[in-house]
């Protein structure tokens, strides 16, 4: 089966302007050689801390940023090779839901107009057809039909996020980018939205790119997890494997740092020293070596490559001896 979406060796560097007289141009290496695959109807969870490049990756997938190098393939075709018409259809197939439903909905538009806007701009439909589609998506996200007449401020945070999801659904997309979709919501509401997203995935066969810092939520929602650190994927594999037996020292620390769900839940605490280094000047060799509790001499010089270990891919010198099947470098 062709993957729905495939990222091959994606790179995105942002130039940083220095003072008037300049000096050497510096680059923020936001995403540096990142590859992943999203299968139809499945969820890829992207985890990592601020500055790891997960949001830049999402922007690349949404075509809000152009990659510096590498390519994205959708349905087996490279986006770089698509003509304007096919790009329009790509944009329809890939929708997004953002973190803050107080910021992502226009307060001056009625909910019906907000949800129907993608249809109006992208397809020439009769008013009756738009109305029918509107009622259908409202029903899908569990909102009453009369919601269409109201303004966003008349809804709570959880309901607003349902409106944002409804808007993403109107064009019958195949992939939805979910960037921290529940972080801004009250605790008692989060489960409602996560359940809704799962139901919609089952019903409509949607694929998700799920970005969140709540590891338990990512593990719960995802089929595959990719862990990012300073623009690189350090570990990726089936969600359950990665979450229950992380191999990369960063993944281990990340999952150990996740808060327990019970006071007796005594996971080993691994407290990492220091902060994430600046992506302007990432450490040489393995980018995690400055904070790694298991650092070895070669980590500061040799950059580890992703290699398959125990059913997932890890980029870490600790597993060099176990290096069986190197992940083939992505072909162009």
């Amino acid at each position: 089966m062709t993957p729905l979406l495939e990222a091959r060796a994606l790179v995105k560097h942002f130039p940083v302007r220095r003072g008037l007289l300049g000096g050497a141009q510096q680059m923020v290496r936001a995403v540096d050689d990142v590859s992943f695959v999203i299968e139809p109807g499945a969820t890829l969870g992207l985890v990592g801390e601020s500055g790891c490049g997960k949001t830049t990756t999402a922007k690349l997938v949404l075509l809000l940023e152009r990659p510096t190098a590498g390519e994205i393939r959708f349905d087996g075709e490279s986006l770089a090779a698509l003509d304007a018409e096919s790009l329009r259809s790509y944009r329809k197939s890939v929708q997004a839901v953002f973190q803050d439903p107080y910021a992502s909905l226009n307060p001056r538009m009625r909910v019906g107009a907000i949800i129907a806007e993608p249809l109006v701009t992208n397809e020439r439909l009769a008013a009756a057809a738009v109305g029918a589609r509107l009622r259908k998506v409202l029903d899908l996200v569990g909102l009453p039909a009369r919601a269409a007449e109201l303004f966003p401020h008349e809804f709570s945070g959880g309901q607003r996020q349902r409106i944002a999801i409804a808007r993403a659904l109107t064009l019958s997309p195949r992939l939805i980018v979910l960037d921290e979709p529940v972080s801004a919501l009250d605790v008692s509401i989060r489960a409602q939205i996560l359940n809704l997203l799962k139901d919609l995935q089952g019903e409509l066969g949607l694929a998700y790119l799920f970005i969140a810092h709540d590891l338990a939520a990512v593990a719960h929602m995802s089929h595959v997890i990719a862990v990012m650190y300073l623009g690189r994927v350090v570990e990726t594999g089936p969600a359950r494997t990665v979450a229950s037996q992380p191999r990369h020292p960063y993944t281990k620390a990340l999952f150990a740092a996740a808060l327990p769900s019970h006071p007796d839940d005594s996971r080993d605490e691994i407290v990492l020293a220091g902060d994430v280094p600046s992506p302007l000047d990432p450490p040489s060799g393995c980018r995690f070596h400055t904070r790694c509790p298991q650092v070895m001499p070669r980590c500061s010089t040799d950059e580890p490559k992703l290699a398959t270990v125990d059913g997932r891919d890890v980029a870490c010198h600790l597993y060099d001896s176990a290096e069986v099947a190197r992940v083939a470098a992505p072909r162009g």
């Binding site: 801390e49 601020s50 709570s156 945070g157 959880g158 309901q159 009250d186 605790v187 008692s188 509401i189 989060r190 489960a191 409602q192 996560l194 359940n195 799962k198 810092h213 709540d214 590891l215 338990a216 939520a217 593990a219 719960h220 929602m221 969600a239 979450a243 229950s244 620390a253 990340l254 999952f255 150990a256 740092a257 996740a258 808060l259 327990p260 769900s261 019970h262 006071p263 007796d264 839940d265 605490e269 407290v271 990492l272 020293a273 220091g274 902060d275 994430v276």
Partner: protein, 302 residues
């Protein structure tokens, strides 16, 4: 009139940690501010009393309160960028409580500040003490706020969502730091949070707030093992757990009520899966339901 907090009682022992859990609008932050008498003048009809080491804080004059805040009771807020002054160096701000409360001379206060930065595990304190807040990372800023809080050796530390703005591994660092400081200084702590995971990791006792009232309170293990109030139970069950099957989560239907228009009877009744008839009309009384002072206000146990 909005009733932000109503009829809330709790006690906290020396060196203990109490978690106050609730969603936005549950009144948890109002409660914290009222302990320190920091509510804005618009908050009228404040009643009840707060006894701290045997003294009634409500009976204190404004001048006496100022001597308590920052010295005997300290507070850490959610956003370190908002609690630090961008125009002063870190050293000035960590030294300030020492100079104000203890009259320490400037030079000595700066020396103490350097030591305090070391105590909150800031690398190269001699250099950092001259930095301005914008030169530090979010985790470092919050550690500076921690250093200010412990500068005068308080007996009680109130932390209102102290790690919400931090990344996961930085949050773990900060929580470990707070726990070490607490042990070293025998501090009592009140942790205000929406996150049950923080309660599970940090607290001895927990009070769950809903719509301005404590609906359940008691020792942390009691509450996690045998939650009695349907709201507490639902909260615990609605959280995805690492390493568990990915079926459906138990969701709580509806949303938290508007504090300006609370439902009659038990405020949770419109969302409660096991409500009784009288829940809609009569407010449940608080009653003891388990060991260690485990209490809940629910008609199922009244």
């Amino acid at each position: 009139m909005t009733r932000a907090v109503e009829d809330v009682s709790f006690t906290l022992g020396d060196g203990e940690t109490l978690g106050i859990v609730g969603e936005s609008g549950s009144g948890k932050s109002t409660l914290a501010l009222s302990l320190l008498r920091l509510l804005p003048p618009a908050a009228r009809h404040v009643a009840g009393n707060v006894r701290f080491e045997g003294e009634d804080l409500m009976a204190k004059s404004a001048v006496e309160m100022r001597k308590i805040r920052g010295k005997r009771i300290a507070m850490i807020l959610q956003d370190p960028m908002a609690s630090l002054n961008p125009l002063f160096t870190v050293g000035d701000q960590v030294a300030e409580p020492l100079r104000v409360h203890e009259g320490t001379p400037r030079r000595r206060a700066w020396e103490r500040a350097r030591g305090l930065l070391g105590a909150v595990r800031i690398a190269a304190p001699d250099m950092r003490v001259r930095n301005y807040p914008h030169e530090l990372s979010g985790g470092m800023r919050q550690r500076i706020v921690g250093a200010i809080a412990i500068s005068c050796g308080p007996r009680l530390l109130i932390a209102d969502e102290p790690t919400t703005s931090l990344d996961v591994t930085i949050q773990a660092q900060y929580l470990a730091l707070l726990r070490d400081l607490q042990r070293a200084q025998h501090l009592a702590m009140i942790f205000i949070t929406h996150n049950l995971g923080i309660v599970a990791r940090m607290c001895d006792a927990v009070a769950v707030m809903y719509a301005g009232r404590i609906v359940e309170s008691g020792p942390v293990r009691e509450i996690f093992n045998a939650p009695r109030h349907p709201y507490t139970r639902a909260l615990i069950e609605s959280i995805p757990r690492l390493g568990e099957s990915n079926g459906r989560l138990t969701a709580i239907e509806g949303q938290p009520p508007d504090p300006a228009a609370l439902p009659e009877g038990c405020a949770f009744h419109p969302r409660c899966p096991v409500r009784l008839e009288k829940c809609a009309t009569e407010r449940p009384r608080d009653s003891v339901v388990g060991g260690g002072g485990h209490r809940t206000a629910c008609w199922l146990h009244g």
